[in-house]
Symmetry: C2
């Protein structure tokens, strides 16, 4: 069975993602993970020298995410961690509520699920010395969660994000992003993936959010690398290239060694979406994938 783009990629083969009773929370197979591992190693091979590697758990501080503006911009996507808190008798009390409604006994913890890999980075870097004149580069990754309202094959609630991040001056951040756009296109070419770069905006919440999205496009703050996965007309964003200006620098008082507020930029790789794009483009049989893609992924 070959899910080529022409067939449409409307449902995901259980050879890749096993069925789950929760939409967007699929189980990954060995075949799928082999490609994820290949993608991870390929992305690593493109890493700039002097890049610090950090790996984040799937949960992070709620206060830090709220302070980053996430609640304001994307309240509909946020997943919070709740638990039955208190001592033994309080927990038992929740369990023994009338009608078995233990859910009502849950209360929010200090944790949320990370919606993107780089959010925990900025407050961490803020605890260190000022950003040196040459800027800082990071390689971060985490399992991410977004409470998506729709669940197309390429819109998972739980997914893995890898990011390269630059913290420095405005020029350094913009240069970093400008270098990565052609590098990412070249990566897609090696993988035999048809792609295009397009200006983009984040899925900001509500009516005010539509204005924020317009400004984001107008100021060219976000670009995406789009690859057809389930549709040619609505290709899927598999990478993004983001310039945050001084948003995180101001929020976390990140300063360069000249005392100016740091600017930041990131390039984000949606690993699960890239893997789905590969299977949608080349089919389920790795043996018949283009040689350049197989070499690049060591599959």
């Amino acid at each position: 069975m070959n899910h080529s783009i022409n067939d449409g990629f409307e449902s995901i083969s259980p050879a890749l993602l096993q069925p789950s009773i929760c939409a967007g929370v699929q189980v990954r197979t060995a075949l799928f993970e082999q490609v994820i591992d290949g993608l991870s190693a390929l992305i690593t091979s493109l890493r700039d020298p002097e890049t610090e590697i950090l790996r984040f758990p799937p949960v992070m501080s709620r206060d830090q995410l709220v302070k980053s503006g996430y609640l304001h911009s994307f309240p509909h996507l946020l997943g919070c961690v709740s638990s039955l808190q208190g001592d033994e008798s309080q927990v038992r009390g929740s369990l023994e509520r009338s009608n078995g409604d233990w859910i009502a006994g849950l209360s929010a913890t200090e944790l949320v699920l990370s919606p993107a890999a780089c959010y925990p980075l900025y407050p961490l870097v803020a605890t260190r010395k000022p950003v040196p004149g040459s800027g800082l580069l990071f390689d971060v990754a985490s399992y991410c969660f977004r409470r998506e309202a729709t669940h197309e094959v390429d819109r998972l609630q739980a997914f893995r994000m890898r990011e390269y991040v630059c913290i420095g001056t405005s020029e350094q951040s913009l240069d970093f992003r400008a270098r990565w756009i052609p590098k990412a296109e070249e990566l897609a070419r090696r993988l035999g993936l048809p792609c295009r770069i397009a200006p983009a905006s984040d899925p900001f919440f509500g009516r005010a959010g539509r204005l924020a999205a317009m400004i984001q496009v107008e100021q060219a703050l976000k670009f995406e690398l789009l690859i057809p996965v389930h549709s040619q007309d609505q290709p899927t964003a598999c990478m993004s290239f983001n310039y945050h200006r001084d948003h995180f620098g101001t929020t976390w008082d990140l300063q360069t060694d000249t005392g100016e507020t740091a600017h930041t930029a990131c390039v984000a790789f949606g690993l699960d979406r890239l893997a789905l794009a590969l299977f949608a483009t080349h089919g389920l049989d790795l043996q018949v994938w283009p040689a350049t893609a197989r070499n690049a992924l060591s599959v």
Copy 2:
């Protein structure tokens, strides 16, 4: 700086885990991840033939976990995913509550954080054909979450668990576990880790839980491989060997091809704890680790 066991391993070097404002939710460094990757590959090299590989996201179905008995046994450790639900005006309503108390607007989703890697496996296998006469073997992994009340260096809230699981007859499950105990001891020996195997029980909730724990020990359902991490007197459980009898088989109606209820067993590797045990035992400088350990881990 060498955190040998004799020094005690009371605090974790930022060379391994970076500080976090949330206890038990640390950021992993490149040095730490290098050892995690080595451990993962080493465990893979010991995998039985004919083992199906599945990788789970850090969240799973709440209904499935509750049906598995987790809420009854470990309500104090459960992390649930809550979100601001409803349409735009409802979400805005939560955000605009008096006193900025948006937290009160959270409601539980259908998802929880997985507390162990194998819980989502049993309902998945139950959707397939009956378990064949030869039994089934699985290699599963996920980031796990437990709402721990204390946060010693070896008690993380967010941690990675790798498991081998056997689903079959009682004999197959017990044989599987009996084979894995000496294999695990040999693995620890190759890594230069002092260890012992001990009967163990799970941290069941409350007064009734203490009885469940006694029965678990009495019936030899759980063993742990213990390695000193922060203390010689209170060594840390870095692997466990569990026989579930027909608990999951009955819960999910898992049947063997002769129509009997399947029994299950698992061996669980606490990857972060194993890495901490290695650093606690051999220090932070991989160059001076024993040659057998470095070879085994390819570091």
